[in-house]
């Protein structure tokens, strides 16, 4: 098991380093700044955890869970990155991604995540439940973003589609894994949990590395497309108001 953890850990670090180096070379680092901030954070944390595992094994569980909880929250940066990139070229709906992300987060946080702390249970069970519920919240956000992109028939581009797919795989593996751990209990499932969990991360990192190898974001190419039509915010707002007032007149007939 130790050898397996070592191999998975090294593969993870290599993929993260490759992502950062490639991003810097291809220029994607500036375009996807939130995503690469997360990857840099993840790389540093993985390295630190790796060193703690070999140097101070007694301190390892506490460090692992602390970093895991912080990264659970940091993962929301990827959602913001995805939401920004889908709608960025379209001025009128530029804020739609953030609007959806913030609204779903707020609603599910109040109705779904926070109530999980009300039940009395052990720390490990509470952590598993919290991880499960935040993962499900992220799944709902990704689905909402994909549905909104489909509704407006927006092209996603290989980079954004890859980010979504990789993150989706990671969340699905973690959700199924944590649900199984919760159902079967610590004694029965602890080894399998340690086995499958890191595999989900490696799968996600592999998809991201392939997707982010070359800049293929639609937003960059379409920005050039739209360059021909410079317009002011006032002009855009005026046109949208005109469409709305036409429909309002129809309602009042």
């Amino acid at each position: 098991m130790e050898m397996y953890s070592l191999i998975i850990g090294v593969i993870g670090l290599i993929l993260e380093a490759a992502l950062i180096l490639r991003g810097r070379r291809s220029g994607l680092l500036r375009q996807f700044s939130l995503f690469y901030s997360y990857i840099t954070f993840y790389f540093s944390v993985s390295l630190a955890i790796f060193l703690i595992y070999w140097l101070r094994q007694d301190f390892y569980p506490l460090a692992y869970w602390f970093c895991y909880l912080v990264s659970l929250l940091a993962e929301f940066a990827i959602l913001l990155e995805i939401s920004d990139h889908i709608f960025e070229p379209y001025a009128a709906i530029r804020q739609l991604g953030r609007f959806l992300t913030v609204c779903i987060c707020a609603v599910l946080c109040v109705l779904y995540i926070l109530p999980s702390f009300l039940h009395q249970r052990s720390t490990s069970e509470a952590l598993l439940e919290f991880s499960l519920r935040t993962s499900l919240t992220k799944v709902v956000i990704i689905c909402a973003l994909a549905a909104a992109a489909r509704y407006f028939r927006l092209p996603l581009g290989r980079n954004v589609a890859g980010l979504m797919m990789g993150f989706g795989l990671y969340l699905s593996v973690y959700m199924a894994n944590f649900a199984a751990a919760q159902s079967f209990g610590r004694t029965l499932y602890a080894d399998i949990l340690r086995f499958i969990g890191p595999l989900g991360s490696i799968l996600c990192l592999a998809v991201w590395t392939v997707a982010m190898w070359q800049p293929a974001s639609v937003s960059t190419s379409r920005r050039k497309l739209g360059d021909a039509g410079h317009r002011s915010w006032e002009e855009l707002s005026y046109k949208l108001v005109r469409f709305n007032s036409t429909l309002t007149r129809l309602l009042r007939k």
Partner: protein
Amino acid sequence: MSLLAYAIIGILFILLLALLLRDKRLEEPTETVGETEYGPDLWDEKSLLLYERIFDPGDYSWLQDDLRFSHLARALVRSRKRLALRWLKAVRRSFEHEVLTPQMFPSGAETSTDFGRWRPLWLTLRFHFVWGYIFFMVRLFGPYCLLVPSFSWRHFIPELSSRRGPLRDG
């Protein structure tokens, strides 16, 4: 939730995501300027007249009440309903052309206020909501239905009518 529920959610999520991301329309640019059939130009006087005419029940009343050609009146409603739906779809296409054309504002032209940045989104969502409602109503009840429910029913409540009566008489 049980293990089975989470496992099903995970599998369904991956399938749904793969389905959404595989869609051809999401991979290819949708707008081909000059090739797409745009909707009515709301800045054009003719287009406004057409819209007034489609949703105006005058012709229907004339056939139904004055000439008493009920079958012709019904045929007119059917054809006007088709026209109204086509007009609504065209308006939506036109709106989407405005909204979904990638834009780059000249440097310094980006609005600095939060209100300015959120306003186009509010207008877009409002348009889609109102459009959906009108389309649903026209499809279900035809172009001459009352889109906003009237409050004429309150006259049937004697208490309300008697209270308002003296006020109206002065």
